[in-house]
């Protein structure tokens, strides 16, 4: 058990995966010599060489499209998209090609491609650098979508994403890159698509993913001091969603709040609210409430503190839930 930042944990996970399987390649813009704009791939090119840690031309569709061809050849490419808002030039290759190409091949060939995307706000950056695009990918059949919230999960989930035979979108909450946490490099603790109860409680279930998990935990701590017991669930996987864990919790609490940085409209939070309505209608004491970014483009950075859900907005929703 050592404490390391999430960026380093992903780096260590990539390294372990590359040692375990010589077919694992890492490719993207500025990831080799520079080590990535967030230094997640630092040192990998020196260790594994330029044919396994590939500095590509500046073309996102080219990165994902050529990764698909490499997967046909038997490689397991891990693509880095530099920022959330830069993934859209690759949208056709991800949504129309990668997500559908296994079905097109009628399972005669697997496409184990991982696409890493640093995402989310709270880093004070310019337009296109703070977005949360997870709903696009979670909506798309053929993709698995995961997002770690802490270094331990980041270390293990990247390795499980790489060994998965299916395409995986791996969303890295960039505001958590520099936060240290313990990793146990012996035991993963949970599998790729399991959600985890990260704080037990009895009054309200609070669900989040990525950077929102730490905000949710802080909110739960504040609520505890006010006599409200919040159970916090870290989704970890956004597609598929582990409804078993969520349903176990709401059967106990009867109330659920979903928190996310992404806009609420047609989002992961919306899907959870709809599914809880279908599957746990009679145990619910209150409607599922969403706390999310507003249905606007991500605002200029000086406004992000208001735009992004914080502990107050989460606790406001918890209060509204308890008032039913």
């Amino acid at each position: 058990m050592t404490d390391i930042p999430m960026a380093k944990a992903i780096n260590e996970g990539l390294k372990a995966a590359m040692i375990a399987d010589s077919k694992v390649l890492v490719m993207g813009e500025d990831i080799g010599q520079l080590g990535g704009v967030f230094r997640v791939t630092e040192g990998l090119q020196q260790q594994f060489g330029p044919s396994r840690v590939i500095d590509t031309p500046l073309a996102e569709s080219g990165i994902v499209g050529s990764a698909i061809g490499l997967a046909m050849r038997g490689y397991r490419p891990v693509c880095e998209i530099q920022f959330d808002g830069f993934v859209y030039p690759a949208f056709d290759q991800i949504v129309s090609q990668l997500a559908k190409i296994t079905m097109r091949h009628e399972s005669t060939q697997a496409f184990p491609v991982v696409i890493r995307i640093p995402y989310g706000g709270h880093i004070g950056a310019v337009e296109h650098h703070q977005e949360s695009p997870e709903a696009y990918f979670a909506h798309t059949a053929g993709l698995r979508v995961i997002s770690p919230s802490n270094p331990h999960d980041a270390y293990w989930l990247i390795q499980e994403a790489i060994t998965s035979e299916d395409p995986v979108i791996y969303l890295e909450p960039k505001s958590r890159y520099w936060h240290k946490g313990p990793i146990d490099d012996e035991k993963p603790g949970a599998s790729l698509h399991e959600a985890r109860v990260v704080r037990e409680g009895g009054d309200v279930t609070l669900i989040g993913h990525g950077a929102m998990v730490s905000v949710a935990l802080q909110a739960a701590e504040i609520a505890h001091s006010e006599g409200v017991s919040i159970e916090v669930i870290d989704l970890r996987s956004l597609s598929p969603i582990d409804y078993g864990t969520i349903l176990d919790s709401v059967r106990k609490t009867g109330r659920a709040v979903v928190a996310q940085e992404a806009p609420g409209n047609v989002s992961v939070g919306s899907e959870i609210a709809a599914t809880l309505t279908e599957k746990s209608f009679y145990v619910m004491e209150a409607p599922v409430l969403r706390v999310s970014g507003f249905d606007t483009p991500f605002p200029p950075a000086k406004l992000e503190g208001i735009y992004l859900p914080d502990t107050d907005r989460i606790l406001d929703a918890v209060d509204r839930s308890l008032a039913y």
Partner: protein, 372 residues
């Protein structure tokens, strides 16, 4: 712009062999071909054209939602496909029926896809590396380039053994040259010096938009901007298509990086059966290209070599028989099972797919039990 001063050919439009200083090397590249090879070129062009007509008829009779004709482009495809080597990987767009035939594809598999039975239709491992059709224009050029990067990383090219060194051909059209993906593929190919041939069939029309709207410059000249060697050939000359492909594929597999051929040809038919070319094309242009038909040209060449009429007659009979067999087999194709909705979405288990497959099975079986 049908042909230009740059267009290379070995067979003149009247079917006579004409060799000059510019084409001497290409002529040498067909030196090992025998009359038996030439007969095979003719046979495949004729059989696949007859198949193409039959498939169009099947569509008109309601047995397919759509057909994609390749009539007029047979020489570009047949010459280049025969020039590839067994170890090569072929990434077609969606009109390369002749190429598939040569690599061993059962052409009914293309019909299965266009009839709505599958999104793919074959396993490239069982069609001598003839990969699946991709319907988004240009997307597959990047898959081909990635595959070629993999060949290079594997050390499976540039060893100096032409019988083993692998390379990739990717087919695309003039419309695809406007797509970002095609341009990114050219950039990645030159960056990583992939063993790869970009084979552009310039059939002059991207549905209703003529090539002159796509480009103010001959398309093969664009390759120079990417640092990729290129030639423009007469795509209706099967011998030139063979020669240029043979030379450039062997350069690609030998470590000389990506290559580019623009084959000037023409889409005699519609883009697909959903299209009506009389709305946008003029008759003179069509007449010009019908007068430059690739099969007629090659027949004239073979007749000049002394090939007897009985051969052409037997090919015509074989083509009719093949078309009849395709028709028969098309009409007996069965619809896929409903489980195919879920079967191939993921390679590993997925709880949502499993749950919805079970739900559908249960729902459908509720009807078998009758109304409750």
């Amino acid at each position: 712009m049908p042909y230009t001063e740059h267009t290379l050919r070995l067979l003149a439009p009247d079917g006579t062999l004409v060799v000059n200083d510019r084409t001497e090397a290409y002529h040498s590249a067909i030196g090992h071909l025998t009359e038996a090879d030439f007969r095979e070129f003719y046979r495949v062009m004729s059989v696949v054209r007859r198949f193409d007509v039959e498939a169009g008829n099947l569509q008109r009779q309601g047995h397919m939602a759509l057909w994609v004709p390749s009539i007029g482009q047979e020489a570009a495809q047949v010459g280049s496909a025969f020039a590839s080597r067994p170890q090569d990987h072929i990434f077609p767009a969606y009109r390369e029926h002749s190429v598939g035939y040569i690599r061993g594809l059962d052409l009914v598999d293309i019909i299965r896809m266009l009839r709505g039975l599958t999104h793919g239709g074959w396993d490239p491992k069982k069609t001598n590396n003839f990969h699946l059709y991709t319907l988004v224009i240009g997307s597959h050029t990047l898959h081909a380039t990635g595959y070629a990067m993999g060949i290079s990383f594997d050390g499976a090219c540039s060893t100096g053994d032409l019988e083993k060194d692998e390379a990739v051909i990717v087919y695309f059209g003039d419309g695809a040259t406007s797509q970002g993906d095609t341009n990114e593929a050219l950039i990645f190919a030159q960056s990583f010096q992939t063993p790869q041939l970009f084979f552009l069939q310039n059939n002059h029309w991207a549905i209703s938009v003529p090539v002159r709207v796509q480009s103010r410059t001959p398309l093969f000249e664009r390759a120079a901007g990417f640092g990729i060697p290129s030639v423009q050939i007469d795509g209706n000359d099967v011998l030139m298509s063979y020669a240029a492909t043979r030379i450039m594929m062997d350069q690609a597999r030998s470590g000389q990086g990506p290559q580019f051929i623009e084959a000037m040809t023409y889409r005699i038919g519609a883009h697909t059966t959903s299209d009506d070319p009389t709305k946008y094309r003029d008759e003179d242009e069509l007449a010009f290209w019908q007068a430059h038909d690739p099969i007629d040209r090659f027949r004239a060449y073979l007749q000049g070599l002394g090939v007897e009429q009985a051969f052409f007659d037997s090919v015509a009979t074989e083509a009719d028989d093949y078309a009849a067999d395709v028709r028969k087999r098309t009409l007996t194709l069965e619809n896929p099972p409903t489980t195919d909705i879920f079967a191939h979405v993921f390679t590993e288990d997925h709880p949502v797919v499993t749950e919805q497959a079970a739900w559908l099975e249960n729902y459908l079986s509720s009807f078998e039990q009758g109304p409750s």
